[in-house]
Symmetry: C2
Subunit: 811 residues, 2 copies
């Protein structure tokens, strides 16, 4: 397939270049040619200002909606701001796939979902994947089939195991998210581009960090994302909910943000000037004080939600005005187009408010080369030959392999399938688009597990049955299941959950295995045949019944593995590849959720209300599998040391020696990790380094991930070194006001999940030092979760009911 | 359309008779001809016994599964027991509709859902509808396209407004349900058949009262119907959860019952010998002590659920055995077919257990004439000409008209649409299958509201827009909405909820208006045009924002109105028909559910746990609209009297005077109600008679519906008399042990909802008398809801988690 693509692609480059012409403004001979926006010698801000200066008020309002009509009189084309690319160029208003599968731009590489990519703990891989996504996105854009900005990544932490969109994130840990997203944005926006299409001064794409902030509920027990008011303490906010966004803004300088549906401590985020201006633009210094091309879009209809159902603004015009003035520059939805003119007429917004938003938006397009000639821009020559290259295909496969996590293995794996017959069962066995999760595009192929096994063994040796489904008990599938299992030497069961159970708009109500799967699995396990269960889906399931069942030899989790998922899984099962992924989320026992209202945003356990806490840092019970857990086909030993070999550090020396703009980024130490493969199989090893100790404000977390890295292909009986870098921020804690502080105390570094492969202790001495002074909210917005969640149970209702359960009047 | 059907039908009778031959056993020349089952001179039990006596054990086991293969060696045909007919012959394993819409048996009359039929408070209408359903079902059966038993009605009370299947029931009140179901079963099973096809000694159909018992949760917050253990006090059980089933068994002698997915007080109902034998068969004397054709089926896979996820039985075989021995004769699912032989081999069941079940099942078919010659049975000659007759079409229309409930009218209705332009908006405007709810068949036509308005005014005067949807906020529909409203003189909005919000398997999480409907409605109401909102769907929505909005002139609720819903609604809006339906359920404020876990089965309020109580009898808050509420286009006055004019009654006289087998059925009094139409419009009037008073055990209900009846077409300034009959049971209360008792005290009868149109007081004197001694459960099974629902919040989890949240081992 790769060869025929390459043959076709030389034609494709030509045609896409021609097509692209009409998608970009004519800066040569059009009405804009003499406007400074077309003057490539000027800075971004000047160019954007020049364009804004010639727009009418109505044209500016049109420019603030995501399906912008452009300005025909100026030859400024319509522009669709809403393109998606969560794990590959994805279907969305801004992206078009040709429907004829033989034609160019009919597909794009479909990588694993972020939850699987997160399980790789391999940020170089994340960068490589993102680079392919942006290359393919540019190729689509050049063909007039995609925009230049993409509304990805979803970088909210996967706080509650029920969250339907947790699959879109790399996991539950804020440090992991921060490192991941920094690599991801570099790959998407083209910083240090490695694929030969260096953009020079141009941005490759604009990425959009979403959903800012505190968004991680779809619909739980009558609490809908459009209305939910998340009550979050400043400590939890800075420590848990915001680090990934701080990295996006302050450190990765991502091009765009998206404010979210929910409110935080009483204010809908799209109308929250404190969040969008004080924190994002000022404290994090996102834009360096300029409005030169960094913008905030609302989530779709989130500005409507400011009025309804949040009822935060008294009128529809006031909602639109509040959002614009708070710094929401773009509206996905209808409220700016419908109500901003009226808000303007009522003096709720003024010309300067509109100018700022439009400058930011068109500034962004300036940076993307939108107004510049094609021949000056290597990105503009990317064509169909850059899509789904052999390297991209290999990368999609590798990402799926690296992201698979081995949870149980009673000497069953790797399997020798030679000459064997195999039953391939379960509702994931023949998965196609299931493997893509959500926000996906047309894939070049979707190799199911069944297909992979059939390719390996031939159809005659493979017996397939779907069922038993993820929902209702099955009535009709048993016979097919027995027929398949009776015929086979070995049983492979592919199940778990999929998009029918966890999805946008729909959180789970159970974290146990769904439907009748456990009954089917349990009865098959009585047959005494070698049996492997592969757990699919993004949210974890309590797999202890499978772990505890001696009739089941192995359990592998593979998430949403993308276009080549079947081969990636099979190659691990047969030992062609070795598993080395790690769980990026805690696998809680099924009963966990009974004592945890999804609406309770707190992280720390609170016995007074029977709240066990959240994430591996705070959960005070026993997980089924811990964050970071993952077995191998071999065994490892490791040594840990601090470069420089000191074991005590003075805080004032550490801070005064630092020359970084932000103290939390100051280097603390490099930690060389020596890893020895003491077994037979060649294998990757993901080094996860945790910090433990009782320092800073009580209560203390059980441990905290501070750094990680992945070594590849460590052969038997060899040793590899992985260097993990720590900053002062790595050692810091957050106080109740949200300040990040370095505290004196005894610290321990532990490699790998408990009990750990190696450990290293050191102390910090002297006075505590603030690394980051958190900007207080203008009003007292430190929430009290226990006030909001009486007796562990809380229903906000929807539509006309506010969080206190009161009926509100309807205008 | 009716004429062409009649022309086609003479052919149809011939062909269906021929087809039918192979669906029935050959008692003339087949292997069974000499078996007594074919001897029409014998009683049912003898005939069924004779058949069972010649079956092998394996054949008997085959006979206990719903897709029974029959016994080919005996010429006993395969029989599919699972046919559906909730509100018309419905698609199901036992029912086939021809796909060519021009061919015979390609459709059946589709009546309103029971919730709409319940709102008519017209049991003669219920009987007439059920008679049409059974006639059409017999016609389908004769053509080989349906079974003879139908798994309807769903007669669980609509306890919680969130219940996804509440639409399948006539409402929340047990007396209403009991009267309704008695009429319904008479119509379905052919008692006193009025449509000219008198069955003589034969049953017309077998109906199936389901789901026995305590079933009214689909999926709430991790509590799934397959696993839920309903904790119900004996008082609530007898007073609320069981009366409709008692009527089915004891008074209507329905042919079949279905046990449910859930457990009650620790025992899955399909394995509950107390429920199925002590209560159903013995105490209610369902079968008169005989096993001559009354059977219990499991809900589909409910026997599997006894093992998993209930984990009530230790093995799969034990689950199957427990169900069979408890009196579950038929298994929809695989557990009897897969595990009963093994249970037999382990002596967990014996031959007699199997014989009993199979006798009951085939006895039922004997009563249906299954083994008897066609020519002796009028029902067997029913053909396609009996389906969707003009009378059936009229009845479907009438039922929809009678079931519509007017909730608000600021002199807006009836509308004069002559010469007007009308905007028809909302996601119900162009409803087709939406109008059928669930468990529906192919309808002959589905006249949407939009279609009806277009027929009345012509397409050019009607402006349509769908949106805004029931889920996510809309991004794209606003423009179409404005275009429609800008063009129109009058706005009709059809919205609410539908099967995408409330359905089998899916309870609601909010009882407010969903999606962005209130924002859209509210903005349209600002236009100042005459505006009517029609609220559709079975579960009530808190419509107070619509009630309180002066820009909205009227609100009508129409439920799921069936095949002619559009015309039924439009004819009410224009005054061609007058509204006289009454709400068969309470319309709670949206915040109600915040303090009511769905899993809390209690009815009575309990301030200690912040529980406001359930149903109009107990709810201690203010409803938005009360049970029984409904406006008219006219006004009524009424007088109430007790026939005989006494005002004091001695309890021992009342009971000793009675000759009824069951004391609660003893007549107490007739209550003639004189109703005068004091307004201009001709209108029906539904007389709802409530009992009030402080007698019997505390706490006292606010009031109790004791009788009702509907008078038709009362013309202006005329008076009609409706006679309502009361029994001793009408006056009784239930004590904590479940005994039904007549107590001394002061009683009041009040006509209509508060404050009532008329009132009448009387007293009972003497000692309290037990009308019904309730059979105690062999173990202490009086549940304590507050134990099961700690702090108002409860999650059972699913799959491998029991209700205490413990992880159970997997076999």
């Amino acid at each position: 397939m790769a060869r025929s693509i390459l043959l076709l692609s030389s034609l494709a480059v030509l045609s896409s270049t021609i097509l692209a012409a009409s998608n970009f403004p004519d800066c040569t001979s059009g009405p804009l040619a003499n406007n400074s926006v077309c003057d490539t010698s000027l800075d971004t801000l000047s160019r954007a200002k020049a364009l804004v200066s010639i727009l009418t008020t109505a044209e500016k309002i049109n420019a603030t909606i995501s399906s912008s009509p452009g300005v025909p009189r100026l030859g400024l084309p319509a522009y669709e701001w809403w393109s998606e690319g969560l794990h590959g160029v994805a279907k969305s208003p801004g992206v078009t796939f040709n429907s004829d599968s033989d034609s160019n731009f009919s597909y794009a590489t479909s990588f694993p979902q972020p939850i699987t990519l997160g399980a790789t703990f391999d940020d170089e891989l994340v960068y490589a994947v993102a680079s392919v996504v942006s290359t393919e996105a540019r190729a689509f854009s050049n063909a007039g089939q995609a925009g230049l900005d993409f509304w990805t990544p979803n970088i909210n932490p996967f706080r509650d195991p029920r969250w339907g969109r947790g699959q879109e994130t790399p996991g539950e840990d804020p440090i992991h998210l921060s490192n991941y997203v920094k690599s991801l944005i570099a790959g998407l926006e083209g910083a240090g581009d490695v694929d030969g299409s260096e953009g020079g001064k141009y941005k490759k794409l604009v990425a959009t960090c979403k959903h800012f902030a505190g968004y991680d509920i779809e619909s739980w027990n009558g609490n809908y994302r459009y209305q939910f008011d998340a009550s979050i303490s400043m400590q939890d906010m800075v420590e848990y909910y915001l680090p990934s966004f701080q990295t996006c803004a302050r450190d990765a300088k991502v091009g765009a943000f998206m404010c979210s549906y929910n409110a935080v401590n009483g204010v809908p985020t799209c109308a929250d000037s404190w969040l969008l201006n004080d924190v994002l633009r000022d404290h994090w210094n996102w834009t360096g004080g300029n409005d030169d091309g960094f913008w905030v879009t609302s989530d779709c209809d989130a500005i409507q939600n400011v009025f309804f159902p949040h009822r935060w603004a008294p009128t529809r015009e006031a909602a639109a005005a509040a959002a614009l003035r708070a710094g929401t520059d773009l509206n996905c939805g209808t409220y700016y187009s419908r109500h901003l003119q009226s808000a303007y007429d009522q003096s709720l917004v003024d010309e300067a408010d509109l100018d700022t938003a439009v400058m930011r938006l068109y500034g962004s397009l300036v940076k993307l080369g939108y107004f510049d000639s094609t021949d000056s821009q290597p990105y503009r020559s990317l064509g169909w030959d850059s899509v789904n290259t052999p390297r991209a295909q290999q990368l999609a496969y590798t990402a799926a392999v690296e992201g698979a996590v081995l949870l149980k293995n009673n000497n069953t794996l790797p399997l020798n399938l030679e000459g064997k017959t195999v039953a391939v069962l379960g509702d994931w066995a023949a998965a196609t688009t299931q493997m893509q999760g959500n926000y996906y595009g047309q894939a070049p192929y979707l190799h199911s597990p069944l297909y992979a096994v059939q390719q390996l063994l031939g159809n005659d040796s493979v017996f397939y049955s779907a069922g038993p489904g993820f929902g209702d008990p099955t009535t009709n599938d048993w016979d097919a299941i027995w027929e398949a299992t009776d015929s086979a030497d070995i049983v492979l069961y592919f199940g778990g959950v999929d998009g029918s159970v966890e999805s946008e708009g729909s959180d789970r109500t159970s974290i146990a295995w769904t439907g009748m799967q456990l009954d089917v699995i349990g009865e098959i396990a009585l047959l005494g045949k070698p049996m492997v269960v592969v757990q699919m889906g993004g949210g974890q399931l309590d797999s202890s019944p499978i772990v505890n069942n001696p009739g089941i030899g192995a359990l592998l989790w593979a998430g949403y593995p993308g276009q080549d998922g079947g081969f990636a899984i099979l190659d691990i099962l047969t030992g062609k590849q070795a598993p080395a992924g790690r769980l990026p989320i805690t696998q809680y026992p099924a009963a966990y959720i009974a004592s945890v209202p999804m609406t309770d945003m707190a992280l720390r356990p609170d016995t007074s209300r029977g709240f066990p806490g959240r994430t591996y840092r705070w959960f005070d019970g026993d997980p089924v599998f811990a964050f970071g857990f993952g077995l191998h086909y071999t065994s490892f030993t490791a040594d840990l040391s601090l470069a420089g070999s000191a074991s005590s550090f003075n805080i004032s020396s550490l801070t005064s020696d630092c020359t970084e703009e932000y103290l939390d980024l100051c280097p603390f130490a490099s930690v060389p990790v020596s890893v020895t493969n003491t077994g037979d199989a060649t294998s990757d090893y993901s080094a996860l380094l945790f910090l433990k100790g009782q320092f800073g404000p009580e209560p203390y977390p059980l441990k905290t991930l501070v750094s990680y890295g992945r070594a590849h292909n460590i052969t038997s009986l060899t040793t590899t070194e992985i260097t993990l870098n720590l900053t002062l921020g790595s050692l810091s804690r957050v106080d109740e006001s949200g300040n990040r502080v370095l505290y004196p105390g005894s610290y321990s570094l532990v490699l790998d999940v408990d009990p750990g492969l190696a450990r290293l202790d050191f102390t910090l001495t002297g006075e505590a030092a603030i690394l980051d002074n958190w900007p207080a909210s203008p009003v007292d917005r430190v929430g009290s979760p226990s006030d909001e969640v009486p007796e562990g149970y809380f229903v906000g209702g929807y539509g006309s009911v506010n969080n206190a359960g009161d009926q509100l009047p309807l205008d």
